[in-house]
Subunit: 465 residues, 2 copies
């Protein structure tokens, strides 16, 4: 007997008349007055459940009438054309074995009624059983597979940069400390400082905030590389766009300038959006109907658009002369806020925008100084409907320029000794970007809060499960 | 002008006579008495460098004679048949631009001479530029892509289980604490304990040791899932097989028993070995010649073998009656050590062995108790040449049995409330396994120490870079 996934049955992989076994959980069950029951069975393989018809002559029909949402069953039967609306194939059950009951259906947290997204978040261990989080899970998987495929097909190597790091690359204020020291009895040095030489790694150690600096070492040997791994921020931000633990995708390309990675960002986004449009039409249909009516339209529009390149300085002029009043005033040198980015992408251009060449004072120390001396070769990809989704830059590969930048920012060359080595030995122009994976999933699904697109969200005060 | 990777040039993707640009780093340079130079250029895309011929009529020929290992260049030229030995295609350079010099060739840490693997480890930021670590990087990438592809093609969803966790699943002794508390001034409760309510997550938080318990929640909704992410052990083990930070692959399958995942483990290993044999013959050839002459042979043998299933109890009998003296004595109930595992796999069977049904007292609390009451449905895959490479089990899905196991092991049901819920609501038989990714890379490459198959190894006293 073939064990068939619900997806394969509904997709018509087996012809009518084939005997199959399907295994899963009851989404709903309905008893007909005609003395038969309809069991909607899901197994996670696709959005729709398959309908299994239980005739009253089944030996355990009494049990079947007692099935409730969440019970697990193994159904054996024959595939037939459905006479009902909504789906074309169903299964006429010859045996439906109940594998696991729901302890108390009245208090089952994932009962068939509609639950708020906040309620589901409080039951993160059971929420994948719902339509919405099941759909998020398939879309998230589809996106991650498409990202690996895109880079692999284009000759990039996946590099696992370290999660634990003693390099404090972007300011320890937002980093989590990792330690095995006894907190009840923290060892101290003679000076009264914490004695980290007694810690597991012999020095103060943190969770990484980005794999970029590390992956540059592999970029300057393998040419085309990317990371795809978890990163961490100990930021006390309770917003819908921030997580303390999130996944980042960070490609880094040797012999590349800003335009190379701007094109890479455009190609990558189009590739993954095409993949999800092709592979997850069922889930996207649900998000379009129930979550955000624009999700499919805006992805298709990104796929069909030529991304517009625009200099930061030009954007400032546009914003100053557009006649609109913004909450945050605009002048050259300020960081653009979401309202500015969305005005440019949604109202002024009406397509994804790659904003380039930002003032150096609002950007990181490793970005390449442009010839004007006041901007850096940085870029942000702004997508209609969400704003910034990707940020990247060309890296400063000239040792003298890099060293004066370190001095300017009061950073010590010794702390960046290994990073400087990449500029001392066969230095090359190189560039890369970072994509927050959860923000991508949120954009694709239309889900407003990134806490609902990662299995177990970590935020201030919450590390449950 | 086409920018070509070295791999594409050497693979004959462009016909002889095509003008191409290649970009990379000098591996070696040799000047001929005939007034021309041969530059071996690598770009990470494959094992072999491409030979670029520089005739003395190039405008910057003087510069070219000064090139040393590690310099970065962009070479433009025409593809031609090589007259030399070893490779069939080379590039006759029409321009060779030096992009980055090596500051002081005499002290360049990756000079062309042979370096010990320990020396390379001390220069982890530059070692990808060497033959051996370049090859490791390509093989590691190939294996990770093959793993994602295998699971994707078989209907599995990638699930990102949390890295930060407040669940102490396998004993906090080996876990890293993650905190933002001020170590100079640890807040205390009235009782004098550490006041973790003031910490970032409001409670004591650790780095995960395994995604298994978390991924079971998704398994019991999506049916077929897997994790592929970093895990951590704060174990003070300075061995060639242990890292404080390593990557794990953990599939979990619903409606599955031990035999399902034994077959899954066999299928997965064969799939990824086939992929690496097909895709990375160049790198494997190097490992076979320079590192371990058995690497290709033993992988091919795994691909062609039927894995042998053997009960733990049978293995004990074999070991007791084989007439061999072991360092650790054998009797029913002991954990098998490496010498036992290798005897069984290498000498007794001569093929991969899936050892099954271990005594419950040496296995974890979540493993399913067999009908004999004294063994659990656990399995280890033992591969000739390395020993245990995969460990897995069927999970205890029966609530009453699970609860008595918790009681027996003095664990509190409250601590496992969400895990118990999976057994209260539509429980299903399910099973899964864990594969230590670095041990897999070590097996495939023949490299003896896992510190050399991960970009930046973390071990006691070492979290550099």
């Amino acid at each position: 007997m073939t064990i068939a996934s619900v997806a394969d049955v509904l997709a018509g992989k087996y012809s009518v008349g084939t005997a199959v076994k399907v295994q899963g959980w009851v989404r709903t069950k309905r008893d007909s007055k005609a003395g038969l029951s309809f069991v909607a069975l899901h197994d996670g393989s696709c959005f729709d459940p398959v309908q299994v018809i239980a005739l009253s002559n089944l030996a355990n029909y009494e049990d079947i009438t007692r099935l409730t949402t969440g019970c697990s069953v193994i159904a054996t039967g024959t595939i037939k054309q459905s006479e009902g609306k909504g789906q074309s194939l169903e299964i006429e059950g010859s045996a439906i074995d109940v594998i696991g009951w729901v302890e108390n259906p009245d208090t089952y947290p994932m009962s068939a009624k509609r639950h708020s997204i906040e309620y589901l978040r409080e039951h993160a261990h059971l929420r994948p059983r719902t339509n919405i989080i099941g759909a998020v899970t398939r879309v998230r998987n589809c996106l991650s597979q498409a990202i690996h495929r895109f880079f692999h097909e284009n000759g990039y190597m996946w590099i696992s940069t370290p999660i634990l790091t003693a390099s404090d690359t972007e300011g320890a204020g937002e980093m989590f400390r990792v330690s095995t020291l006894d907190m009840m009895n923290v060892p101290k040095t003679e000076n009264g400082d914490v004695d980290y030489t007694q810690d597991f790694f012999g020095k103060e150690t943190y969770l990484t905030v980005s794999g970029q600096l590390n992956v540059e070492t592999y970029c300057t040997a393998m040419s085309k590389v990317y990371t795809f791994g978890p990163t961490f921020r100990a930021e006390n931000s309770n917003t819908s766009r921030h997580l303390a633990e999130f996944w980042m995708v960070e490609p880094e390309v040797a012999f590349a300038d800003l335009s190379t990675i701007a094109q890479l960002a455009e190609d990558m986004l189009k590739y993954v959006f095409k993949a999800v449009l092709e592979e997850r039409a069922d889930d996207l249909n649900f998000f379009e109907q129930r979550v955000n009516k624009d999700v499919v339209k805006r992805m298709k529009s990104v796929v069909d658009s030529d991304f517009v390149r625009m200099d930061y300085s030009e954007a400032i002029e546009i914003l100053q002369n557009c006649g609109k009043t913004f909450e945050f005033p605009v002048e050259w040198g300020v960081d653009l806020s979401s309202e500015h980015e969305r005005y440019i992408a949604e109202e002024h251009v009406g397509a994804p925008v790659i904003m380039q060449n930002y003032p150096k004072d609002i950007k990181a120390f490793y970005m390449r100084i442009n010839d004007d001396g006041k901007t850096v070769a940085a870029m942000d990809v702004l997508a209609p409907g969400i704003g910034e989704i990707i940020g990247g830059s060309q890296r400063e590969e000239r040792l003298e320029v890099f060293d004066s930048r370190l001095a300017e920012m009061d950073l010590s060359p010794e702390d960046y000794a290994w990073y400087r080595d990449l500029r001392r030995y066969g230095s090359v122009p190189h560039a890369g970007f970072g994509l927050g994976f959860e923000r991508l999933v949120a954009y694709v699904t239309g889900i407003a809060n990134v806490r609902d697109v990662i299995p177990f969200p970590r935020t201030p005060g919450n590390a449950n499960y």
